[in-house]
């Protein structure tokens, strides 16, 4: 054996490498069969980034179909409810340049909205119930329909079918339960007016450091 190797270095090397490649090929082939992933994981990942309003503004009947369409090569800027944040996240995931929102499909609203049915005017036609992709509207024929505000995604789809036009989209009020501190403003105000203002001093107070970026710019300019 050793004799053979020492005498036929080239051949033995070829045999060794060939054997290794066959072995690894077999291992990889086995792994491909054994650990096969069902479905397209990318669709799931994209679907997880979409806002799940199921509003259909992208032209697809729901978020998942749009995710599938994106995998099939559709543009990623057709989701107005998600806005730029979603586009950025999608661009990140797919490693492409983030385009701006396609205005053709609607505008991004900063304020979350929910449907509200003016109950006096509701005639109980159930049209909105059929239109709601979330099953967030309750009621039966000839009964007034209330909206489950917690489940409403504000997709607008119930507004159009209403024959008596009694559905309003009302913005969600921010209250103590969903209030949180906002980032310190960085570039709204120039330095000099800021100093003139009586600003809260303590470290954690709101408003401090509003001129962070501005002062940076000024420094560069100087």
């Amino acid at each position: 054996m050793i004799d053979f190797i020492s005498q036929n270095l080239l051949i033995s090397a070829l045999i060794a490498l060939g054997g290794l490649s066959i072995l690894f090929g077999a291992v990889l082939g086995f792994a491909a069969v054994k650990f096969k992933v069902e479905g397209d994981p990318l669709v799931e990942q994209i679907d997880a980034l979409l806002p799940q309003t199921q509003c259909g503004q992208c032209g697809h009947p729901g978020c998942k179909p749009y995710a599938q369409a994106i995998v099939a090569g559709e543009a990623i800027n057709k989701c107005p409810p998600g806005g730029q944040a979603t586009i950025n996240a999608l661009a990140d995931l797919l490693d492409v340049e983030a385009p701006s929102l396609d205005a053709e499909h609607g505008e991004h609203l900063d304020v979350k909205r929910v449907a509200f049915i003016r109950e006096d005017e509701c005639i109980g036609c159930t049209k909105c119930i059929q239109a709601c992709p979330m099953d967030a509207i309750l009621g039966a024929a000839k009964q007034m329909h209330p909206v489950i505000a917690d489940e409403c995604t504000g997709c607008d789809l119930c507004v159009e079918p209403c024959p008596v036009d009694c559905i309003d989209m009302i913005p969600v009020q921010s209250d103590l339960t969903n209030w949180h501190w906002s980032l310190p403003a960085t570039n709204q105000k120039p330095v000099f007016t800021l100093i003139a203002q009586e600003l809260p001093l303590i470290a954690t107070d709101a408003g401090r450091g509003e001129a962070y970026v501005k002062s940076d710019d000024t420094g560069k300019a100087a």
Binding site: G62, C63, M134, W181, E198, L199, G209
Partner: protein
């Protein structure tokens, strides 16, 4: 003794100017009752309490006015006696400057207490009862977080508590509320510590941690422990630990580390490592709740800052408006730069001064601009790393700052943003005065919001998928039903065909002559009719009986009654004649009916076989033949009807109209059948129909034609031609219409119609 207790040194931390002496010059003071108390429903961590009083109600001091909503909530009580004047949204001390539901009480100055349930010896009570007392009193953490104390003192059974830490550190500058409390009420504190220890099943170590900048408090607490030891041997277990002053050693995690050397793992509670940490003020409040049944309605608040003429600690009723408090302390609004609730490190500037004192208001700081100078504008981060050096939680504030600015939430979480206690040490040392903590708070809020949104979007996805599934299922069910129906129909057709091929059941055969009484045999029909006649006769007899008055004296038989009787007799007579007619008719028909089967090809032995034969014959008929057969039967019926009409005429029956109408209808039907036969390309008249009724129809036609001819004869030639032309035109019109219809329907007979139209046109031209 204390020197023997080991302490650990807190990593990081800072030494800001303490500013504690100015508020310690005077003992705890009290304020006169304010004109109004505003008691928010959410002064604690968790869900807001829900009001249990109505506007207009009179409430007593200490009365429950809002009950806890679930476990993670706290009761709220009236701080004094008076009248509830409103339950409405009021400004609350919150950094957002928002309003929240509050109960507004107008004091009646009587300070009338509710009946308090005292408890001399809590050791006799069950621990759950004691916890209930604390819960009922609405005690919540008074150090700043407002965590419901009853929840804190009831750790899970898996969490074995071996150490109780009483937090008297009070590390933040300016604040001396706990300091003065320990100085003045050390005895109550020790009682509270013993109670808490009892509730927690007497943990091995009881440590009261006090920073060494409070020598008076340390001395007072130590003295109180000495005294307590004389009556309660457990008090000997209490260790008063003083440790070097350093901000922020008062944080629960930090104090536990200083006193025990144990670190709380990220995302865990102190109970997970066997330690419970309670603030001194909370301890006293819990003890008063158990011992005197007193709810938490007041607290000690440090009123400090050079904008106040008198700086001291005050025991304030919860709900006292802060503007009232400040005004009582000689607040100079011109000198004050702002009013801060809490200390200068972790507190926040009050957006408005018409907010009340709540359970967590440990300090009101009203500094002058000189005392707490304005911040420099924030500069760029110079990466000096001072923030990382002072962070007591061993985080990397600088990294967190970058990520917070970029809103990179994944990285923030992987850098343990949520372990940040927001102490402000990093901001304090930052040479660029970057408001670091605000970045962290904003980032934390955004992350929480994202989590909520993520949860909601996941739920939305689920709901949407479920809905899709449901719709698909409904659709599938409908489809299955449709298929089942289709299959059943096919099956039935097949069965029918099979049966007809083999031996069709008589019930499935519809014989037009039998439609009137399909279920009755001729004998039964006869019997029925005879019964009818008999019944009618009886009725007539009854009606003909002479009238006898039931009360001859008072009510003689009136004209009216006589008339009625006459009418009744008439009716009965009519019925009888009808019945007799029917019977006679039936008897006349019966032989004919009996004869029908014999004329058919099938053996006439039994009616069933005959019917089968008829049906078979019918099945074998072509559409034309069918129509012809229909025509025949119709004509038979017509004949009968006409006979009936005649009979009715001779008898003068009232049914004459109805009978005539029936005859007319039959005639119409016959005409229709003839028309359809014609459509099939066969002239009904040319058909070899030899039956009697056909003759009568033919006779009718002949009569019509004769009448026409007679009419024509009376007309002149021109008139005749015009008449003929008109009728031809009519026919042409009709034929054209039919052709169009046939073309539209793609009828097989289009060609026939077309040729007939052409013929008519030629004829018309020939005229």
């Amino acid at each position: 003794m204390t020197s023997l207790i080991p302490i650990w040194e807190l990593p990081g931390g800072i030494h800001p100017t303490e500013n504690k002496t100015q508020s310690l010059q005077l003992p705890i003071g009290y304020l006169p009752l304010p004109p109004q108390l505003v008691i928010p429903l959410n002064q604690h961590l968790g869900k807001p309490a829900h009001p249990v009083v109505q506007p207009g109600d009179r409430v007593l001091k200490g009365q429950l006015i809002a009950a806890a909503e679930g476990t993670f909530s706290a009761n709220t009580h009236a701080s004094t006696s008076g009248t509830v004047i409103a339950i409405a949204d009021q400004n609350i001390p919150h950094a957002s400057g928002m309003t929240a539901e509050s109960i507004v009480i107008e004091p009646d100055q009587k300070e009338e207490w509710i009946n308090l349930e005292t408890c001399e010896d809590y050791l006799q009570q069950d621990r759950l009862v004691l916890l209930d007392k604390i819960r009922a009193a609405g005690v919540a953490g008074m150090g700043g977080a407002g965590f419901p104390t009853a929840v804190k003192l009831a750790p899970k059974s898996t969490q074995v508590i071996d150490t109780l830490v009483i937090n008297g550190a009070e590390c933040e500058p300016y604040i001396t509320a706990d300091d003065i409390l320990m100085q003045e009420r050390a005895d109550q504190l020790i009682e509270g510590v013993l109670l808490t220890s009892h509730i927690l099943h007497h943990p091995k170590n009881i440590l009261i941690g006090i920073e060494d900048n409070k020598p008076k408090a340390i001395a007072a607490v130590k003295a109180a422990v000495e005294i307590a030891q004389q009556t309660n041997p457990e008090a000997a277990n209490i260790k008063v630990v003083s440790f070097p002053t350093k901000y922020p050693s008062g944080g629960a995690k930090q104090l536990i580390y200083i006193l025990t050397g144990r670190e709380i793992p990220s995302g865990h509670h102190s109970a997970d490592i066997g330690v419970i940490c309670v603030n001194v003020a909370t301890t006293i409040a819990a003890w008063r709740a158990v011992r005197f049944g007193e709810p938490l309605i007041s607290r000690i608040t440090t009123l400090v800052g050079e904008a106040l003429s008198e700086q001291r600690n005050m025991e304030l009723l919860l709900g006292t408006p802060i503007d009232y408090v400040l005004q009582q302390q000689g607040f100079d609004a011109k000198r004050a730069s702002r009013v801060i609730m809490g200390g200068p490190m972790m507190g926040f500037t009050l957006p408005a001064l018409n907010v009340p004192v709540i359970k967590t208001t440990n300090c009101l700081l009203a500094p002058t601009a000189k005392e707490l100078p304005l911040p420099d504008p924030a500069q760029a981060c110079i990466r000096c790393g001072l923030c990382a050096e002072v962070c007591p939680a061993n985080l990397l504030p600088q990294q967190l700052f970058w990520y917070a600015q970029a809103e990179d939430f994944d990285r923030l979480e992987s850098h343990n943003l949520f372990d940040c206690i927001e102490c402000g040490a990093c901001s304090y040392v930052c040479p660029s005065s970057i408001p670091l903590v605000q970045y962290y708070r904003a980032a934390k809020g955004s992350i929480r919001q994202h989590l909520i949104e993520k949860e909601k979007s996941d739920r939305s996805r689920q709901r949407f998928e479920f809905r899709k599934e449901r719709l698909a299922k409904e659709e599938a069910e409908k489809e299955a039903k449709r298929l089942a129906r289709q299959k059943a129909a096919e099956e039935a057709k097949k069965q029918l065909a099979d049966k007809q091929a083999a031996a069709p059941v008589p019930a499935q055969i519809v014989d037009p002559t039998k439609v009137a009484a399909p279920e009755l045999s001729p004998d039964e029909q006869k019997a029925k009719l005879e019964r009818l006649v008999a019944a009618a006769k009886n009725a007539l007899e009854f009606a003909q009986k002479p009238l006898v008055s039931r009360d001859p004296k008072n009510k003689p038989i009136t004209e009216e009654q006589l008339e009625k009787q006459a009418a009744r007799i008439k009716q009965a007579e009519l019925k009888l004649s009808e019945a007799e007619n029917k019977l006679a008719e039936f008897l006349a028909q019966a032989p004919a009916q009996a004869a029908t089967p014999t004329t058919s090809a099938a053996p006439a032995d039994d009616p069933v076989a005959a019917a089968i034969a008829r049906a078979q014959a019918k099945m074998n008929l072509s559409p034309t033949d069918k129509l012809k057969a229909d025509l025949e039967s119709l004509q038979t019926r017509l004949q009968k009807a006409q006979e009936k009409v005649e009979a009715a005429k001779t008898e003068g029956s009232s049914n004459l109209d109805a009978l005539q109408q029936g005859a007319e209808k039959l005639q119409q039907k016959i005409e229709q059948t003839i028309a359809s036969l014609k459509e099939l390309g066969i002239d009904a008249s040319a058909a070899p129909v030899v039956s009697e009724p056909e003759k009568s129809a033919a006779e009718l036609a002949i009569e019509k034609a004769k009448a026409k001819a007679a009419a024509l004869a009376t007309m002149s030639d021109d008139e005749k031609r015009a008449e003929q032309r008109k009728s031809l035109e009519d026919r042409l019109q009709k034929a054209r219409e039919r052709l169009v219809k046939a073309e539209a329907e793609n009828d097989a007979n289009v060609e026939v119609f077309r040729s007939s139209v052409e013929k008519l046109e030629i004829k018309l031209k020939g005229m």
